[in-house]
């Protein structure tokens, strides 16, 4: 009797899940994909928002906590672009670092404006959400695609934090996981408030009413063997 009961449950689960899978898969053959270089994308990312693109680059960093994002550089090796997993990719393996990959995905944009920053600030004020590692929605941060990797050899700690684990610099949703007591929480809140102010200053300096953060959500990728 019990065996029959569990068999039925397993059969039911299998049936339902198989039916669901086919609905979720993104069909690449239906998409018109443009080939873009990292440099071209960085120069004019806003033109590609919600557009399927194909991009090649060398992986210079894979997120150490869960492998949910990686960074690629183009031929010049200077500018990098963030790639996140999509519905078909569970995680990026850290062994991808140093490999050249081709990614097919959709360019995404996060608009960081006063409303966004006000919500973020309110959540910092609440505190407890960030202690639990939740945080502001979207939470992919901004500015991660620009600039050079730090010189790790000049400052060991700084270099390690900045390059080996960009998760904490990328998005404010990750902050708070490291909280260890109220003192740490207060320090983290201060750090986030400073970051918010820095972003406000950056918006003011840009002469626009917002900043944009761009990344690619992966549909599929492959390693290019040379």
């Amino acid at each position: 009797m019990i065996t029959r009961f569990f068999s039925l449950i397993i059969l039911l689960v299998l049936t339902i899940s198989c039916g669901q899978q086919s609905k979720k898969t993104t069909d690449l053959s239906e998409l018109e994909i443009s080939e873009v270089t990292v440099e071209a994308l960085l120069a004019d990312a806003s033109s590609y928002v919600e557009t399927p693109i194909s991009i090649k680059g060398t992986v210079v960093h894979v997120c150490r906590h869960g492998g949910q994002r990686l960074f690629i550089v183009g031929e010049d090796g200077e500018d990098r672009f963030r790639i996140t997993v999509g519905e078909n990719i569970s995680e990026f393996d850290v062994e991808l670092e140093g490999s050249k990959i081709e990614v097919n995905g959709i360019v995404k944009e996060l608009i960081i404006d006063d409303t966004y920053l006000a919500e973020w600030e309110a959540e910092v004020g609440e505190g407890s959400k960030h202690d639990r590692g939740e945080g502001h929605e979207g939470g992919v941060g901004h500015g991660d695609n620009h600039g050079e990797a730090p010189d790790q050899t000049e400052d060991h700690d700084e270099g390690h934090d900045a390059d080996s684990d960009n998760d904490h610099a990328e998005g404010h949703e990750d902050h708070g996981e490291e909280a260890d007591g109220e003192h740490d929480v207060a320090e983290q809140e201060d750090a986030q408030l400073e970051r918010i102010q820095a972003v406000r200053d950056e918006i003011a300096a840009s002469g626009q009413d917002h900043l944009s953060d761009y990344w690619i959500e992966t549909i599929e990728f492959k390693v290019i063997t040379e």
């Binding site: 339902i16 492998g67 140093g98």
Partner: protein
């Protein structure tokens, strides 16, 4: 009573079936609770070294970069390299990466290994397989509810839900409520 007999059977057999899942979620749960203290997915070892006679950026080919990495450890296997900034060379090796300040020769070495068992458990805990795993883990969650309910009524008498069980159950509910009051 017949219903109590069935509760025992459900509790026992679900306990057997979901023993493995309980271990996966329990162990990885502890691991993920302490993400600030360690990386449950990878073992990352960081060290430093100083290299002599480091060539200028223009003179660094694949072969030269590979030789530089092997100066630190003969077993390092070159994969690729790039220049993240002026005067900085990053060499990817099979074991991780080496970042070298070309002016000072100081090298920062990061060796990464997957942490066995925990990485796999976290992979499941985070529902990274998605698809069928979502349903199986839902079944586990449902089973936990059934285990909890059946556990309440399995034993009668003063050690059951009408006696000591009532106090312990109340305590188990009260603790999370206190945390909610304090922190929410």
């Amino acid at each position: 009573m017949k219903i109590r007999k069935w509760l025992r059977i459900i509790h026992r057999d679900m306990g057997y079936i979901f023993f493995g899942m309980s271990m996966v979620y329990g162990i990885s749960g502890i691991a993920l609770n302490h993400l600030g203290d360690w990386n449950p997915d990878y073992i990352i070892k960081i060290s430093e070294a100083t290299l002599q006679n480091v060539p200028a950026a223009d003179d660094i080919s694949r072969e030269v970069a590979g030789t530089l990495a092997r100066q630190i450890d003969q077993n390092y296997q070159y994969r690729s390299h790039f220049f993240p900034g002026p005067g900085v060379l990053k060499i990817f090796i099979k074991q991780g990466s080496v970042t070298i300040n070309l002016d000072s020769g100081r090298a920062y070495i990061e060796v990464i290994k997957k942490r066995p068992v925990f990485r796999e458990m976290n992979f499941l805990h985070y529902n990274k397989p998605k698809k069928l795993w979502t349903w199986f883990s839902d079944a586990f969650a449902l089973a936990l509810i059934l285990l909890a309910i059946s556990g309440l009524f399995m034993i009668r008498g003063k050690k059951g839900i009408t006696g000591r069980g009532a106090w312990l159950t109340a305590l188990g509910i009260l603790i999370p409520v206190i945390f909610l009051i304090l922190y929410l």
